[in-house]
């Protein structure tokens, strides 16, 4: 039961993150929302595998915990490249 409550709280936060990603306004808000969504997914998967009582599925949460950083670092590199080529502006 407690797991259900926790997963609903995480789901709510995911909804709020999606709202922030859709609303913006700057692109970094969207990157922030995407990154936050990724960590929340890892949390949710961990809690759900307890809820379903199949703990061998914690591997999925582990995969997200490891891989999530790559996206944000790729964004950092992308922005660095833009700044150097003088096209720093990413917003409309």
């Amino acid at each position: 039961m407690i797991y259900a409550v926790v997963s609903i709280a995480i789901l709510m936060t995911m909804v709020l993150a999606v709202a922030r990603a859709v609303k913006g306004p700057s692109i970094y808000d969207r990157v922030l929302a995407a990154n936050m969504f990724g960590t929340k997914t890892a949390l949710l998967l961990a809690v759900i595998s307890f809820l379903f009582d199949r703990m061998d599925f914690l591997d999925l949460a582990l995969a997200y915990a490891l891989i999530n950083l790559v996206g944000v670092l790729a964004v950092l590199e992308f922005v660095e490249g833009r700044i150097e080529s003088g096209k720093g502006k990413l917003d409309d």
């Binding site: 259900a4 997963s7 609903i8 789901l11 995911m14 909804v15 993150a17 999606v18 990603a21 859709v22 913006g24 692109i27 969207r30 990157v31 929302a33 995407a34 969504f37 990724g38 997914t41 949710l44 998967l45 759900i48 809820l51 199949r54 061998d56 599925f57 591997d59 999925l60 582990l62 995969a63 997200y64 490891l66 891989i67 999530n68 950083l69 790559v70 996206g71 670092l73 790729a74 964004v75 950092l76 590199e77 992308f78 660095e80 490249g81 150097e84 080529s85 990413l90 917003d91 409309d92």
Partner: protein
């Protein structure tokens, strides 16, 4: 309980998809696409598809975003908002097709109906016989690598062909002269924290990739997921240290060898099976004990799949990353 989750997540999925189509900024579309992929993975997990969710996690969270960003670096980040056809014709076509598709679902069995036709044909056979024939519990891996081994061989070759195609299209020299050489590495050299943490993470990612590769018979995992995770680890290295260092560590030839070696390994197992008197990819003839023979065969072909996928994704990434943007006089 599960139903509530599903309603929630599916609605979010539609909202995200609408936002992706609406935005004019392709960078924003890429970020939203990564959220879309995460939502998709959670949905797969809730619908009992742990292996598929792991694949989506391994591919969608890292590789897709990175490849999209590289493509945006080489083209333009803003959509000019031109339309290919009249917007209203498109909307009418889409609405009519949606209504037709939804009306087509009315007579389909409910979600999760155990008497649905899809559950009657071969799936019970797979579920009943995996334990006896293969001796390991993951039915998905068993179907993937043994019962439907031909299919997977075909998919591996599709990945192979796609990687070769990207190489043909993007690896052509853009010109001669020093400005077309790979630049001296910038990477994220000025950023101490990402470099330290990322460098710490890479060995664990590789270890996790190997775990997924060789634990795939007993839990969610297998060659496809492991290949994607290992490729992501090397992509992270390339992001942190720059193209040149990454290529020095893992050259294009090595990547090519990985792709070719992996696909050939898969095919070679089939040929060895034929030489031993069985049919193509019938692993049971490889050894005395058919169960152990199947396990050995599956481990080898999963390794082949992992090598081919890892090499293909890496070589695709490097094809994009090594290319220089072309300036057009406007």
């Amino acid at each position: 309980m599960t139903i509530v989750f599903a309603l929630f997540l599916l609605t979010l999925l539609v909202v995200t998809a609408l936002a992706i189509v609406r935005t004019k900024n392709l960078f924003v579309a890429t970020m939203l696409l990564s959220i879309f992929s995460l939502l998709m993975a959670v949905n797969f997990f809730i619908l009992d598809a742990a292996d598929v969710a792991l694949t989506e996690a391994a591919v969608g969270a890292g590789v897709t975003t990175v490849i999209f960003l590289s493509a945006l670096r080489l083209t333009s980040q803003f959509e000019r908002g031109t339309l290919a056809s009249s917007r209203w014709i498109a909307v009418i076509v889409v609405v009519i097709t949606t209504v037709l598709l939804i009306s087509g679902t009315i007579n389909t069995p409910n979600l999760g109906d155990p008497n649905a036709p899809v559950h009657q044909h071969v799936a019970p056979f797979y579920l009943e016989n995996t334990e006896a024939l293969m001796g390991f519990p993951n039915v998905v891996t068993a179907v993937l690598s043994s019962f439907r081994g031909y299919d997977t061989l075909g998919e591996v070759f599709v990945v192979f062909i796609a990687a070769v195609g990207v190489m043909f299209i993007l690896d052509a020299r853009q010109g001669t002269g020093p400005e077309y050489e790979l630049p001296v590495d910038k990477g994220l050299k000025h950023h101490l924290i990402p470099r330290a943490v990322g460098g710490l993470l890479i060995p664990f990612m590789l270890l996790f990739g190997l775990y997924v590769q060789f634990h795939g018979e007993y839990g969610p995992g297998g060659g496809f997921q492991a290949g994607a995770i290992v490729a992501t680890a090397f992509i992270l290295y390339a992001i942190l240290e720059g193209e040149r260092t990454a290529l020095k560590a893992f050259s294009r030839n090595a990547q090519m060898a990985l792709i070719i070696g992996g696909s050939t390994l898969y095919g070679a197992v089939g040929v060895v099976c034929m030489l031993k008197g069985g049919t193509f990819l019938d692993y049971s003839v490889l050894m005395e004990d058919p169960v152990i023979a199947r396990q050995v065969g599956i481990i080898i072909i999963e390794l082949g799949v992992g090598m081919a996928v890892c090499g293909a994704l890496l070589s695709i990434f490097h094809s994009f990353a090594a290319r220089k943007p072309v300036e057009h006089a406007k």
